[in-house]
Structure formats: structure tokens, C-alpha cells
Amino acid sequence: MAVEGTWEIITGNQAAAIAAKLARVKVVPAYPITPQTTIVEYIASFIESGHMDAEYIRVESEHSAMAAAIGASAAGVRAFTATASQGLLLMSEVLHWAAGSRLPIGMAVVNRAVGPPWNIHVDHQDAMSQRDTGWLQVYISSNQEVLDTILMMYKVAEHPDVLLPFMVCLDGFVLSHTYMPVNIPRQEDVDEFLPEYSPPHWKLDPENPITFGNLALPEEYQEMRWSMDLSMRRALDLIEDVAEEFFQKFGRYHGGVTWKYKVEDADYVVVTAGTMASEAEVAVDELREEGMRVGLLKVRAFRPFPHRDVAEVLQDRKGVIIIDRSIAFSSGGPIGIEVRSSLYNISGSPPVVNYVTGLGGRDVTYEDIVEMTKDGIGRITSDRLRRPYYWYKLKPEYEKIELSEEVRL
């Protein structure tokens, strides 16, 4: 379990590119979009300098990038691409197609706000709006976690019980362009952990011709969707197992479907994802110093959603504070919505306060998280939980409108 490999100080995007190389992906179709672009630039340079043995397809759009990844995966090789924001949205049709074809394609999504107006900064709306495409989605808090998770997720996605594509979601600029020390595992160790992809289900092969994706009538279709849902649910345990296996081999653990920090004795638990979760760890320490027993539950897997874990950790607490970096218009934060559905039918389900904040790159510091947590605890203890969710860090003049009784919810 000794930590082998080499240490480098690199960005989240470099970590993603290196992970693709270490995973020995064979086809990379790519189209540029900020803040993802440097991932595919690094991969292009790996390939052109002979350090990576793969085909690079400089496609003419993200729709084509995903379509080409689908073609490559259908022909039986490991495929990888990366995108963000509008690029991910343009892919939407083919994202469904990849998942429905049960192709374990890997993709780094560098989370960025969607337009209009144009905004290149972090926001989870892009990926969250693709929630129901059948892709596994994991949200990341550090550059090391980016690299390690891409390797782990190929193993999960390619497992015969899963066979679904995955997105590893990293916060735009906060991770993509920020340098951190990252341990780069040795190729031979990665090869042992992640063997070459060999499709266990189907592939395009003249020696064994099959027709894939032709019309399915109502008697057939529903079970196909059911099997995707089942695979998604099976992925929950597999993500845990693979994280454990990765820990045994490489000595690093970032959590499975969730990451828990000081939750054992917590009265209140903060729930969030991505880099806000790293900030939240600091906030938890701060709050504990002030005498409040607060813990953190980081949602790593958003799809599959870890309902059981969430319920187990949160039930019988005095309250839950959920912080989302995305808005489901008129319903709150996507994580807030999911967590409520985890808690609804269990006894001891605690009160929940959901904040929506940090959109379009608005900074969310640990002080903000301390403030939201205190505000949330205040609302819970004084029975001021009027709304299913609250906006946080609105400018004061907007805050007034938000708080007035005219705005019905």
C-alpha cells in the first residue's frame, strides 16, 4: 500500500489528461471549450509526441465528439473525451444514445455556467441538467481526486453489471486551472488495476454481425430502461468496492459514493458537492471550534444517487444544511431535491434547509459555508423554515425581493 509513482504540481485538467493516458484510452474525439480545452490540448501533445498510443479525432462539434466516442466504443475500444457547458448541452442527444447503447465511455466535464449570458466560471447547471441521460456522474474536490477517479470510474463503468458511460465533473477554474501536488501512479500499477477493455456484451464485429438499436416495440422498450436503472443502482456498491480496491493498491481514498467528515457525533450535517465540499471541511472545523457539532456529507456520486447512505447518515440528526451550485428553477438545488427524496419515507427524517449559491463562479468561501450553516441552524431551531430553498449571497437589493411575501413559493 506504499505510495509509489511520482509527484508533480499540476492542474486539474492536466490530471484528467494524464488519467486518460494512464487508462490507455484508444480513441479521443475532441472539440474545444473553455475551461475544458487544455485537457484535449495535453492529450493531443501526448499523442503527437508518441507518449500515448491513441487516435485523436479533431471533430467539428461536441455532438460529433460524443458520436465518434460512441462509434469507437461500439467497435470495442476504450474512448475518452472532455467538455463543458454548451458543449455538454450540444451533446445531450448523443449522451442518451451512449448510455442506451451501454457503452462505458469516459468523459471529464469541467463544470461551467450555461448561457446566456456568456459566463465561463464554475456552476453545476451543465452536468446537473444532464442528470437523466443514464450517465454516471461523480463530483470532484481535488486534482488528485480527478486523476484517481477517472481510473476508478473506467473500472466501474466497464463492469458487466454496469456498462454505462461516466462523467467525472470538476469545477471550472477552481480545479481545472489550479495547480496542486498530485501523485502520478506508475503505468504498470494502473495496468494491473485497470486491464484492457474488452466488451462483455456486444460490439461491431463482422465476424459476429448483430443489429444494434433498431426499433424496439412497447413490449421490449420498458425492460431495456429498467435494466439501465438496475445497472445504475448496482453501480452504488461497485463504486464503493472499487474505491476500496484503489485504496488497497494506491493508498488513497476519496470516499465512495459519499465522503463523510466528522459526522459520527454531529447534530447538524452539511451536504454539498465538488470543491464546495473542501471548503465545507474547513467550515466544519471552524464551527466545531465554536462549539457546534457539525459534520459534512459530501455527495461524490450524483448518479447513481446514494439514497441509502444519505438516509443512514442524516436520519435522527437535528437538521441538514444542503448547499447547491445549480438551480432547478422553482424547485431548489438538485442535491437538495435528491436528499429530500432520500429522507422522505424514513422515520427520524430531519428538517432540511437548502441553499442555492455560487452560480456563475460567485465565490463561496468557508466563511460563507459557516454563515449558511448558522443561518440554517437558526431557521431550524426557531421554526423559521418557510421555504423549500433559499438563495444565498444575493445582492442586498435582490435579497429584499426574495424575502418579501409577494414572492410565492
Partner: protein, 295 residues
Amino acid sequence: MTLTIHDLRKESGSYLPGSAACPGCGATLAFRIASRVLGPNTVYVVPASCFSVIQSPFPKSAISAPLYNIAFPAAAATASGVYRAYKMLGRDVNVVVWAGDGGTVDIGIQALSGAAERGEDIIYVCYDNEAYMNTGIQRSGATPFRAWTKTTPTGKREMPKDMPMIVAAHRVPYVATASVGYPFDLANKFEKAKKIKGFRYIHIFSTCPPGWNSPVSKTAEVAKLAVDTYFWPLYEIENGKLRITVKPRKRPLKEFLELQDRFRGLSDEEIEELEKIVMEKWNFLLHLEKSERVF
């Protein structure tokens, strides 16, 4: 290889009995011949179109080659991915897109143009029934001037896109037009395309009896008349050099128009106008044939 009628008859290629095509479907006739020439070492990528249905529904299939159905705008990109994967695996397989005119000249043109520009080693086939037939006969960018469809109930007012020339302008090594009315010409073009490396494009005129309201028994005849009236000239552009492959004695356009309902109700002047357009194109092709290079 010179094909004879016996070759075309004795095997159905990758097209098996029991498909869900309409009687007299030109697209299936084209596939029978093409897949016969391409052989079993071929993978097909099919975007949304009649051909997604023609295969017949899951769990059956009327196609005996590996075939992957993909979303409407994505065929050429998907085929690019398939080809690149085989390249990595060291396998030599014909990767063929089999798409309708809508999936080619309209929604699929971006992916097609990208793959052509990159020189992907694939054969892109457009079977052109000159409308969106799968959704019930609406106009496409390939629908002829004056033709009736359900979204052009008084006849189309625009000229169709000249897709083979658009593709040729990408300077790809092989572009050809074909017609199911000239099966040997069609077969020979596939034979040729199969041997060439790089992006190859074959645009096939294929009769659609329900879409055109043409007689089911006259699929071949309608498609032959399209060529013989110069409505659909047969040519190929190999490495930039154009050659008209069939030069029939010109027959009056009316004979082609009369065998279908799409052009019903055209006045004599309108037919005259169409005849003029057809002759202009033919003369232009004759002119191009004399040039060293088209592009």
C-alpha cells in the same frame, strides 16, 4: 470484377428476407446491390431514416452485417469513431454510413463535412428519396424544385442542394452519383469505392413509391427514366476528375414526371422550365468532363 445479372441475383448481400420495407422500395434495392459488392467484412452506421425501420424491429433483423443505429445528425462522426477504433485494433473493415437525404444534406451535413475534411477512411452512402419519408413525406434540402411534399403542398420553391458537388468540393478521392435504375453502374461504383482509401461518397437516386405515389412495380423504371431524361445524371469524380458514366439518349422530362404524383398539375411552362434546368446541368457536366479537374 465485372458483375453480371446472375451475380446480382444469386445472393442478396447483407439483405435478408423479412424486412419491413414498403413494396418497391428503392433504398432496399440499393442496399441489396451495394452490400453484395461490399461483402461481409463491412460495418454499417445508420442514422434515423426509413432504413432504421426497414431493418425490422428488435429482436429480429433483416440485415446480416453488423449495423449500428445512431441519432439523426451523427452518422458520419460515429463512423469516424468506428474506423479509428479499427485502425487502433489493426483491423481492416469497410465502414459504411447508410443514410437518407435528410440525414445527409440537412441535419447530417456538419458531421459529413467534418469527416470528409478529415479524410476519414469511410464510405458515405446517401440513398436519396428526395424527402423525409420516415416522418411521412416532408421536404428536405434534396427535394426537387416544384415537387410536392406534405410541407410543400403547392410544390417546393427552392432548388435542391447539389450534395455530390458539395462533397466533391472537399477534395475527397471519390464521389459518385448512382441510380437504382442502373444497377451495374451502381455496383461498379461500389466496387471502385471499396478499393479507394479515404473518404468516399456515393449518392443514390432511389425511388419511393409511397412518397412519390409511383407504381410499386415501376421502381426501376422510374429510376432509369430519371437518368434517361437527364433529371439525375450519372457521373463520378475520381481524384477531382469528372466522368459521366452513363450517357443515354435524351428522353423528354415529361416521361419521368408522369410516372409519379409529385409533379402533378405542373403547367406546360413549368415543365419547360424544369427541362431547361435539367439541360443546363447536363451541359455543365459535359463542360466539367472536359476540364482537367473539377476541384
